[in-house]
Symmetry: C5
């Protein structure tokens, strides 16, 4: 999984029907040589802008939302504790 910081919300009014209702956020990788890389993630954990999060990629993102038909490949699976050093 990747460590990232949520830096914004992403709005896409015109999107696939099966994405309706999912919260999309902009995440930026932190704490790695890949720092700065950005991706859009689905969040169901209730994370907010500024939170450091764990992001899962690939088919496991569909497992996070519990629906194998949803066309996503990145999702938040947890909020990193404040005192956790990464």
């Amino acid at each position: 999984m990747i460590t990232a910081e949520l830096i914004g919300n992403v709005w896409a009014t015109r999107k696939a029907d099966r994405l309706q209702g999912y919260k999309l956020m902009l995440a930026e990788v932190i704490g790695s040589t890949q720092a700065g890389q950005r991706m859009v993630v689905v969040d169901q954990i209730g994370a907010g802008i500024g939170d450091r999060v764990l992001v899962v990629c690939g088919s496991s993102a569909r497992r996070m939302v519990g629906n194998d038909d949803v066309p996503i490949d990145a999702a938040v699976i947890g909020i990193i504790d404040g005192d956790c050093i990464i």
Copy 2:
């Protein structure tokens, strides 16, 4: 998911039968350290050249077109709203 801009159409008259009827477009990554990276994506949302889009990769691209037998690995899942900062 990746944020990208659609920069052209891609024509491949000689292609896999199961790709017949799918619209192929050239997308360039934007707003990330991977900016400039290009890929070919399937679009079923009706996006056009110049649109900023969300692209899903891997097996989830097959989920976007709703057919697990289609040999694709990148698809547009939404058009980013005009006022959305990425």
Copy 3:
């Protein structure tokens, strides 16, 4: 999907049984910041050296050959038309 140019044939007499009969070619990415990256692809479209092709990666490569048991992760899905700018 990735745009690439086929630059050679790849011969591997000693290989997995399930790869018998598949044509292996050397492809080099073109038209992207990843240009120069090379990979070996299966071709069933009948592409040749010098052709610009669309390459699908990951589990979708198995979909291209229509056999989920074949251990491949990159396959040609189409030949880019000559006048198509990428």
Copy 4:
């Protein structure tokens, strides 16, 4: 698979229910041009900080924990022997 060194524990009190009970660790790639790249991995082998480990990525990480519904994409599959040169 990737060779990495475990460099810390990762705590995420607020996380997906299906991650409860899994031990999360911070791993840094070693012995490759990707050295320095970091990722968070699940460990069920009993590895500790300072151990050199083999990490599997993608859907195979779910195979490691034997549960295809767990939303993870990286897991430790072995501890590299002390005298093994990588």
Copy 5:
């Protein structure tokens, strides 16, 4: 698929039960802009140190060993012929 050279054996006495009996080798990518990148691969073809090999990644590695429960993501699928230019 990736072209690589086998440069060593990898020993991990303490590993996942389902990896018992599999031969692990250290492979270094050759003939691409990714040259130098290293990974650990499973070999069932009987390749040895110094052999140039074709490596498949992701879920297709599980197809190579014919067991979808084995937690691996890279495997040798063939030995490149000596006179094959890559």
